[in-house]
Amino acid sequence: MRDLHVHYGDFEAVRGIDLEVRRGEIFALLGTNGAGKTTTLEVLEGFGQRSGGSVRVLGLDPATQRGALRERMGVQLQEGGFVDELTVAETLRLWQRMVDRTDRPERLLERFELTARRDVAVGKLSGGEKRRLDLAMAVWGSPELVILDEPTTGLDPESRRRTWDAIQELQEAGRTVVLTTHYLEEAEALADRVAIMHAGRVAVQGSLGEILASRPAGFSAIVPGGAGELPAVSGTVEREPVDDGTRIRVRTTELQRDLTGFLGWAADRGMRLTELRAAPASLAEIYHAVRAGETEVE
């Protein structure tokens, strides 16, 4: 996907993004509501009309070759798509006749733990059960590419974990998965590569390792008293007076060197540090930085 633009009237929902998803990987599109995630997926699905840029999905142009593409692609919409009056089994049997890929309703009922609910009207299912049925339809016949729009929104932690298992199974079977989410831990647990979208643009893109390495790590501790003269560090230092001393926060790309210097300095003065913490940059930090508009758009 190169320089994708999508307009709705005067509103530009997607403002020039480049995305590349490799075969066999799980790719997560992170972002707040209104960041343009669903709009981007709709272009991949062949539903959204782009106003600029070029897009290839499995080598096909989704806008003009949707027919050929959908045989190889399974889609889970963000919500809905069900006839409430049909039962779970009827829904899958209809799907069996609608989709070109072959699969068996029984297998999917079992895989997604819906066998006991097979004769229940879809309108009477819980949110989690509906989401499972939704996923079952998206992975029907094991398509080459599976697009999932917020597959775990509204699920309890247990169902979320089981959905993750199902997504990982797809990858083990060699399928490519593109998903959107606003849960950071979901992206961390599943995705090989991540793009963080904000206001219609991709702010950060890459593997989790690359993204985290690109941002400074940090450490913090409470130093008794006013802390006086601190040792020289390569990163930035913040001080904040607290009840029993001063909280020091250091953000640095040289975590080990700066932390060693800091600990040596404290040891020389016989200081007892409290609440000492050191961590690499987290996805959460980067995400919040993107939302606050700190991260430069690439």
Partner: protein
């Protein structure tokens, strides 16, 4: 599976759903049927062809309007609202096939209702049309009118609830125009009324029962022609609107 197979599978499911939903079953099946049967006994038993024409024109229009037009609009808007259309577009069915299958149950139900009226007329001994050709045209043109009108109406109907309002004007017009045209004189300025959507149905039914289909009408052309022209224009207009503006997704 071929697209035809998919259309049949989906249309069959949709038909079962109409029968399963009591509200839809009453408004789409019971009401038009009851009113049509009432008209059959009120006007159809008369030996005057004009009265039978009136009954048949009313029956045609109530089935086309309530049985088909309203039901088809509600079904398409409802399926779009719940994103069923959007999901099915990710399956193998073609876009045309998807619309055909969604609208087909309403058309099938309408044809069955008309069949029932036909049987009732035969049983109570209503006069037969002297020329069935205009009646067949009225039926085919009417079907084209209400199906395209239903798709065009979905464009201005944001939610299933709203379809109860957006389908009212044309429903009313269809019934009023067909009834009026079955009785108004076929001379003079009255003929301009035939341009109202649905009015040709009344005019053609009148010709079927009273004859004169090929008699010289305005400017010496067969009497049938203005009605046929009007019958073609509206489906083309509605079809054009639907093709240009139809939306699959409730969001945008």
């Amino acid at each position: 599976m071929s697209d035809a197979g998919r259309v049949l599978a989906l249309a069959g499911t949709e038909l079962r759903l109409v029968l399963r939903n009591k509200t839809v079953a009453v408004s789409s099946i019971v009401v038009p049927l009851a009113v049509g049967v009432f008209w059959a006994f009120s006007f159809g038993a008369s030996t005057q062809p004009g009265m039978t024409a009136m009954a048949v024109a009313l029956q045609l229009s109530i089935v086309l309007a309530m049985g088909i037009y309203v039901t088809a609009t509600q079904t398409v808007v409802g399926r779009r609202h719940n994103r069923v259309l959007k999901r099915l577009r990710t399956s193998g069915i073609s876009d045309t096939g998807l619309l055909v299958a969604t609208v087909a149950p309403a058309v099938v139900i309408g044809l069955v209702q008309l069949g029932i009226f036909g049987i009732i007329h035969a049983v109570i001994g209503s006069p037969w049309p002297v020329d069935p050709f205009p009646l067949v045209l009225a039926l085919l043109g009417g079907l084209a009118l209400v199906v395209t009108a239903a798709l065009a109406t979905t464009v201005v109907t944001p939610s299933p609830e709203r379809s109860q309002i957006t389908t009212l004007p044309l429903t009313f017009l269809l019934l009023a125009a067909a009834a009026a045209l079955a009785v108004v004189p076929s001379q003079g300025w009255w003929q301009a009324l035939v341009a109202v959507p649905g009015a040709p149905i009344g005019r053609l039914t009148q010709l079927a029962y009273e004859g004169g289909t090929w008699a010289a009408g305005p400017v010496g052309l067969p009497a049938l022609l203005p009605a046929v022209a009007a019958l073609l224009v509206w489906p083309v207009v509605f079809g054009y609107l639907a093709a240009r503006r139809f939306r699959w997704d409730p969001r945008h």
